[in-house]
């Protein structure tokens, strides 16, 4: 088996009294699209900035292509296209100047690729970066990250500020890059985006890794969302069984919805005791699964 593209081993970053990330471990394999999800402040950007060598870890190790992120950041950067969550470009420069400077720093002739990408994203290369809207600045970041045709793309909240049409183009671009063999690591709190693109996801909560699962596993882990209404009040302890979570009752106690991940017969036996008026059993959205993890 080939070496993982990204390998984190008990990676820790603390800022004195402030929480950073604690003992995060996972790997990203070659050719994967890996999602990194969690609410704002969970530590996604801290992890990514440590991966990019901007922050020095206080514990554990992080490596990309087998190289240490702290000590060999410039070596790693040669094969990495990075899109930060915030716009961090020279406002006084024109888009074209800035992108050509990026190409120069990577040592590539990026003129043709720059024009092709700008055309697809509908980005005006002649404008000054400081005059651009948030979405257009994001496009500059996307082109800048894709420009050197990197082996690994690291993107922190890539679609924030993009309109839906450009988002679609962006997803297409990512898929094309991935088909060419590029590994993609993207963080997001837009779960539909992760659901749509990723092969696996890592879930981060309050600086700690909650879990790493493939999208298939996450969807196929047996979680069902059950919503039901009975004629009479439902006994409160009826669903106090293993595998039940996120119980939400209505005031009259005749309706309840919950997540369930046990065997079908277990839940059927409980439901059998009720005089049901309505029942809905559905696959939960990733957002609901995620919220279940988060809670």
């Amino acid at each position: 088996m080939s070496e993982p593209v990204i390998a984190l081993n008990k990676l820790t970053k603390s800022y004195g009294k402030h929480r950073g990330i604690e003992e995060i471990s996972f790997t990203v394999e070659r050719g994967e699209i890996f999602g990194f999800i969690g609410p704002n402040g969970a530590g996604k950007s801290t992890t990514i900035r440590t991966l990019m060598g901007l922050l020095k870890p206080t514990g554990g190790t992080a490596s990309v292509f087998g190289l240490d992120c702290g000590r060999q950041a410039s070596e790693i950067a040669k094969d990495v296209g990075y899109l930060p969550s915030e716009n961090c470009y020279y406002n006084s420069m024109k888009v074209k100047e800035m992108l050509l400077y990026t190409a120069e720093l990577y040592g590539v002739a990026g003129h043709n690729r720059m024009e092709a990408l700008a055309e697809r994203l509908n980005l005006d290369l002649s404008r000054r970066i400081g005059d651009l809207s948030l979405g257009n600045k994001k496009k500059v970041g996307i082109v800048s990250a894709l420009l050197p045709s990197p082996k690994l793309l690291i993107m922190d909240e890539p679609t924030s500020g993009l309109d839906p049409l450009i988002q679609q183009t962006f997803y297409d671009l990512l898929k094309e890059e991935n088909e060419r063999g590029t590994t993609i690591f993207l963080s997001s709190h837009v779960l539909s985006e992760v659901q749509r693109l990723c092969d696996r996801v890592a879930i981060l909560r309050e600086g700690k890794l909650v879990g790493v699962q493939s999208m298939k596993e996450l969807r196929g882990n047996g979680y069902k969302k059950i919503s039901l209404t009975a004629k009479n009040a439902i006994p409160e302890d009826l669903f106090s069984i293993p595998g039940t979570a996120n119980l939400e009752w209505d005031k009259s106690k005749t309706s309840v919805s919950f997540m369930f991940s046990g065997t079908v017969m277990t839940i059927m036996n409980q439901l059998h005791r009720l005089e049901l008026e309505d029942i809905l059993i559905e696959e939960p959205s990733l957002e609901e699964i995620f919220l279940h993890y988060y809670e």
Binding site: L54, S74, A77, V80, S92
Partner: protein, 263 residues
């Protein structure tokens, strides 16, 4: 070299404005002040004997010589040179943080070492350009208004401004690397240079030479240059040592630190 070229492009206007301003100032002010040399004997007694000139490193004897008033003026332009140097060195590092561009630059393949070298080279080039403008303008002015001035002494006095600017540029680089989120680099530079100038004046007023080691203004006393024909060797060793420490500490820190984001 990409970083140097980029930084130079970003800073060249600022550097040229300072260089031209200093050159114009020395050119326009020298003839005006040389008028005072002719009337040195008529200077108010308190002004001439109250130790004022000694605090800026000029003796009354030197004041009446061809190099006197030029040295006096250069003593003041050294404050401007110091502010320019420190602000240049400081802001090249702080603006990556305050303009929020650090995350872009420090994630590129060039690496921190090359970024440091590029910025340092730009700082040194800026100091050189300003220095060349100042020395050339001074030489032209002196040739025009005081032909026959001692060239050796002239280059030592004019070179003082360049060396002092370089000192503050390196100090600014170090401060900028250690405190990249400084949002008032010009104010910081002005305060530091002014305090250093006051330390030298105090050292000269109380006559305790050791205090002079705390301020680079003490290292380049025109009276001492006039008297001995060279800079003081002990001050020079200390000057070189401090510059080495500034450059080394900044280099060490830039390799080790977390890259600060704008707050």
């Amino acid at each position: 070299m990409q970083i140097f070229r980029f930084e130079w492009k970003r800073s060249q206007k600022y550097i040229l404005i300072w260089a031209v301003a200093l050159a114009l100032c020395i050119f326009s002010m020298t003839p005006v002040y040389y008028g005072m040399v002719e009337t040195a004997g008529t200077l108010p007694t308190g002004f001439a004997q109250g130790g004022f000139f000694e605090t800026v490193g000029i003796s009354l004897e030197l004041l009446t010589k061809p190099m006197g008033m030029y040295s006096f003026l250069t003593g003041f332009f050294m404050i401007a040179g110091g502010i320019f140097g420190m602000h240049l060195g400081l802001s090249l590092h702080t603006k990556e943080c305050t303009e929020n561009t650090a995350e872009y630059l420090y994630t590129k393949p060039c690496g921190r070492q090359a970024i440091y070298k590029g910025k340092l080279l730009c700082t040194l080039a800026g100091v050189c350009v300003t220095g060349i403008f100042y020395v050339m303008a001074s030489f032209f002015t002196m040739t025009l208004f005081r032909p026959g001035f001692p060239t050796g002494e002239f280059f030592l006095v004019a070179g003082s401004l360049v060396l002092l600017t370089l000192f503050f540029a390196l100090m600014g680089t170090m401060v900028g690397v250690f405190r990249p989120n400084n949002r008032s680099p010009l104010l910081t530079s002005g305060l530091v240079v002014f305090v250093e100038y006051c330390i030298t004046s105090f050292s000269r007023t109380v006559g305790i030479r050791a205090i002079g080691f705390l301020s680079p203004f003490s290292f380049f006393s025109p009276a001492e240059i006039h008297h001995s024909g060279s800079y003081s060797w002990d001050y020079m060793i200390w000057y070189l040592f401090l510059m080495f420490v500034f450059a080394l500490l900044a280099y060490w820190k830039i390799l080790k630190r977390d890259i600060a984001m704008a707050v």
